[in-house]
Point group: C3
Chain length 487, copies 3
């Protein structure tokens, strides 16, 4: 869709040439509320002639200049396209207008206050009330405020659906003339979905958001106890300045690693479930289904935390505290004439821990980029599986290894315990290591073979399952096979 040319409202239409190039089309709008008036004003600007239909035409002042206000039936007679900017509760008066509205195009722009408020969509309800008319659903995703201000920064997409192809086509032309992008969503069956659309607020992001908030808060207080309260109680040190960088830079990587592991946990659980049940033809429990559906969002939240960790780590040498400590270590070394030999094993540990982290972050970023809608739409199932599964597990392995090597020599040493609390990163390793161990077991040939067969439709308790019949007619068994082994 030509998006750029549409930055200007109705860009090509100049009052002068407009009249010459097409005869001024008349559009009728039922309803003089805010949306009706805003849409009318916009249409007037774009060269349409607008007639409003109202219950009390005399009382409707403040209408846009140039628009007529008539009674419903008079207004309807003036045009064959009627935009219904009226609440669904008031639709019953259409029954009286059935005759006037015969063969007219009715554009339902209504929205509800909550998702699935009525059993059928408003547009389908309208189509039932006025069976002789061609009902088209459109414009409900556009706000009156946006029409008014011209500030259509967000989606200019207008979802359009309807059973009559010609009627839909005419409405789509109007949408285009107003400088918006029509998207054909098919027959009126799609109306329900279109009506629910503008009411959502990031439905798939809620679980990842609350989960990561909970993890952050837990590890934040855990770190405060170990790094601020413990030194204060034991050595009267004031470490509160660590709240700004040191503690976030401990909490963020931990949250990222745990969330990343939680992306791969449901896949592992579902494999165990399928192995246990011996079939893939039974639904997973609801919580597992929901979890699997928001893996992408979980992964992206994890990526956000990983990104913060990277930047917080890179600013370390700029910090006053770090510079002050480096100065003092050097000064002490010089004054005490201590020897400072180079320890190769420390250099190895320090460098490989950093390197693993960088490579893990890089692959993580690649995963994030491939989950951008425009990128993931360009890859097919085989490629998507390859990226999300092979690269995904590699990322998890690298990030877990990064954390393990970070621990290095201190790992599980009793000296690291403070008030019997282990370092936070040790807690962070529990879920990733569990996922990796189970995965490792699942890809062992004997288990993997059974799982692959189950995922190709084989069932443990079926007498026919091994017959040639199924396998021959299985259209996509080969491809399935590849996918399954990639999971």
């Amino acid at each position: 869709m030509i998006v750029k040319g549409m930055e200007n409202p109705c860009p090509n239409v100049l009052p002068l040439n407009m009249n010459s190039s097409r005869k001024q089309e008349t559009v009728c709008i039922f309803g003089t509320g805010d949306f009706g008036r805003s849409l009318g004003l916009k249409m007037l600007h774009c060269g349409y002639s607008v007639v409003f239909g109202s219950r009390n035409p005399q009382m409707s002042s403040q209408m846009p200049n140039g628009a007529e206000v008539l009674s419903y039936s008079e207004a309807a007679r003036k045009s064959d396209i009627i935009i219904i900017a009226i609440h669904r509760d008031h639709y019953n008066f259409f029954i009286e207008l059935t005759e006037v509205l015969h063969e007219k195009i009715l554009v339902d722009v209504s929205n509800n206050l909550k998702i699935n408020q009525y059993p059928e969509s408003n547009a389908e309800y309208l189509a039932q009330l006025v069976p002789g008319a061609h009902v088209v659903k459109a414009f409900n995703t556009i706000s009156a405020w946006a029409l008014q201000s011209g500030a259509l920064d967000a989606s200019r997409q207008v979802f359009v659906c309807g059973n009559d192809i010609k009627a839909k086509q005419r409405v789509m032309d109007i949408v285009r003339t107003l400088g918006l992008t029509p998207l054909d969503q098919g027959s009126l069956v799609a109306a329900k979905e279109i009506e629910n659309y503008p009411l959502q607020l990031f439905p798939m992001w809620r679980f990842p958001f609350y989960l990561s908030a909970a993890l952050c808060i837990f590890f934040f207080f855990y770190s405060i106890i170990r790094d601020i309260i413990y030194p204060y109680v034991n050595k009267k040190e004031d470490n509160t300045f660590r709240l700004a960088i040191s503690i976030p830079n401990r909490v963020f990587p931990i949250t990222a690693l745990v969330l990343l592991a939680l992306v791969y946990l449901p896949g592992v659980l579902s494999a165990i479930l399928q192995l246990y049940r011996g079939t893939k033809y039974r639904r997973f429990p609801d919580w597992l289904d929901h979890w699997m559906l928001c893996r992408k969002q979980l992964g992206l939240v994890a990526l956000g935390f990983a990104f913060l960790h990277v930047i917080y780590t890179l600013v370390i040498p700029i910090r006053y505290y770090v510079r002050w400590r480096l100065r003092n270590i050097t000064a002490t070394q010089v004054i005490d004439k201590k020897d400072d030999p180079f320890i190769t094993s420390t250099a190895w540990l320090s460098d490989s821990y950093v390197s693993l982290g960088i490579l893990g972050f890089f692959l993580f970023l690649l995963l994030g980029i491939t989950s951008l809608p425009s990128v993931s739409n360009m890859v097919n199932w085989r490629e998507f599986r390859f990226v999300q599964s092979k690269l995904g597990y590699l990322t998890l392995i690298l990030c877990t290894a990064h954390t393990l090597v970070y621990g290095g020599k201190r790992f599980l040493s009793p000296a690291a315990l403070r008030w019997y609390l282990p370092s936070a990163y040790i807690l962070a390793l529990i879920i990733p290591c569990t996922v990796l161990v189970i995965k490792f077991i699942l890809i062992m040939p004997c288990i993997d073979k059974t799982l692959t067969r189950i995922r190709q439709g084989w069932e443990r308790n079926s007498k026919y399952s091994k017959s040639a019949l199924f396998r021959k007619s299985d259209v996509s068994s080969k491809a399935e096979c590849t996918w399954a082994s990639e999971l």
Copy 2:
């Protein structure tokens, strides 16, 4: 659209099977210029039979092998699809061909030299000249060079529009066979927009670009005066090496902050204007409209500068100058046996300034990602407002606080003045602080309530505005209410 499969030119067509699977379709091309020849060559490669129509068929040498060259009327008789690769100025000869072209599909591929050159689009003009033909606009966004070289890295999209659905469908099938992606843009009304499209060069990016260039240049010279000329004049210090990193790293964050504030300034101004006028049904002045339309671009330019600031800051410890200074400070400290106590308040200031900057940059990056077309198309108005308004103001607050804390104890101290010039970052804070203060006033309950009512369509000077009539029939008042409060 299947984009990958199209990397190869006409990938599925092999000379052998082509003949069997469909009878070689003949396409006629009027015009033997570069575009006509390139398109003809491409069509020959993809299995079409091509006939050229020319004014002087005898003189047209150098035509692709396998293509016939005939007179216009003879060529037209050979095919029912005729591609018009001729300049609009020469269209008048079509009048003689009206009979031959009756019921034919004419594909207008022409472009103009400047935007809105003629009152109506070339395709509509052609349709007026040959009323019996089905005119379809297509291929004008593709370059002859790209057709020739096969290097279609850019958009493979071919915008198609036309009044006859069947004619359009046939042209779209040809587009697809050539390995391009047809996009149905509706009826011939869209032709004007499609013709303007290839002539644009980032129209919405110009204002942000010039504005940021002006800001950069101003602050660049301001910093040169304070940081290079002043020390040279007063202490004969040669600080020119600061031109490479130190000064850019002062100019870029300032430009980023000012531009970010300018993204939110027009929203604040329009709210004041609506409050003053007491209605939302009057257009904003043109400059404000234009400003509001390029807010996204302003924000993205600001993000670019913020990104540069981040990298320039992170390389600080690698720089020779910084390492040299650190060495010397430590050396002096040791030699003079000075005490270097740890100052907690400095650690707090240093860490929280960095931390605020990181969080601000992170949110800024999120805003940037949500403005990618494929992402913003996936969110509805409610979600878009949430991200762009709530997160946007949070970003502005964090970045302003980052700059304020950076100033820290030196803020407004007279010692920082050089030749009566304050530090550059103090100038940078003027606009952001102004925007935040006005915004703070606007969200106070009493003012917010009035503003919300105005944005729902209420008008101060209207006698009917409070009547139940309007509110009942306002389809989207609830949703509007939420949006308004989020602004």
Copy 3:
């Protein structure tokens, strides 16, 4: 397309209201293999009534609850939409069913095992076998596993094509009801491409991947010889810890620079070829064509290496080795009471090398962002050329200059040779410098003019090429001119 609303499988359909709002449509599925059963189960969940057609209806146990299993002809009579989930090899039995299938909609969901396995697509073959039916290709890009598990993270896009518009429309409505996104791909000609689509695995990425792997391996071993083996042999130093960070951070920038130069090399070669041949109407050799087609992928791989180089560089001051060395240098300086004067020229070199690198990386990142499909679809040819050509060469110049200045005073000094091997970065500069020099020659006015004329369609050996005839009818000569000069 409304993507979000589709996260839940068939979101709007509740068993209760479904029956009321539309009469339960019956769909017939031929084939009881895995894909057939999975699709049938999904359709039952979404409110369809499903009838399976099978060769041995009695033997087909394990069918989804609620689905009937009948013989092919009986099943076909129950519905006017029949989904063919059978291997192409078994299609011949359709000949017996021609009568029953008359005027029915046959949905071909089949896939093949390799690309271009048969001369014509399965769907076209089916259409030939049953000429009375309306064949529609659909669902082949969706996996049975995905239908089953609901885990449609990847593309929900279902490519649909078919010759009968009404039949296609009905299939698209079914696709939508199942919670997937139908994409109309036109007539049945598109079936071949749709069938090849799911079999690809990053076809355009293979050459860039292998090339970059080869470069990496070569420079890796080259650096090991110079930086690890040489010091070990000559001074018995154990430098193996450099394998983790120092050597990758030498290999990655070199690979990035060489790959970036290889993006621009084919453009330069093709210009030389066109100048030599004196025409643009001859095809390039295949290797050059292929190279030009994967320039985008080459560039993105280069960007990945550049990104790794940036992060590996930024972590330098955190490394144990670097800190240890800084401490020791300072300590030595103090103990030996050496003077450490500030060298302005070194500061200049160090700062400008870093600054050039940052700016180069920033432009490189911009190039990467504009190659995202959703972004590149929004820009027209003129804008795309501007970004990819002007900005691209600027990036190459900056990155080459970054490497040249990095060499600084050591550049080509014989002291840098180890075992007669020059530093790796000197090898890396060969291709970029060659490309830039040739490009510089090509844009010299005399050569550029000839090249531009050739690209506008002028041919050196054509007698008519200078006649007004061509130029007048050249539709896009002006635009071409601009593009050419931008290359």
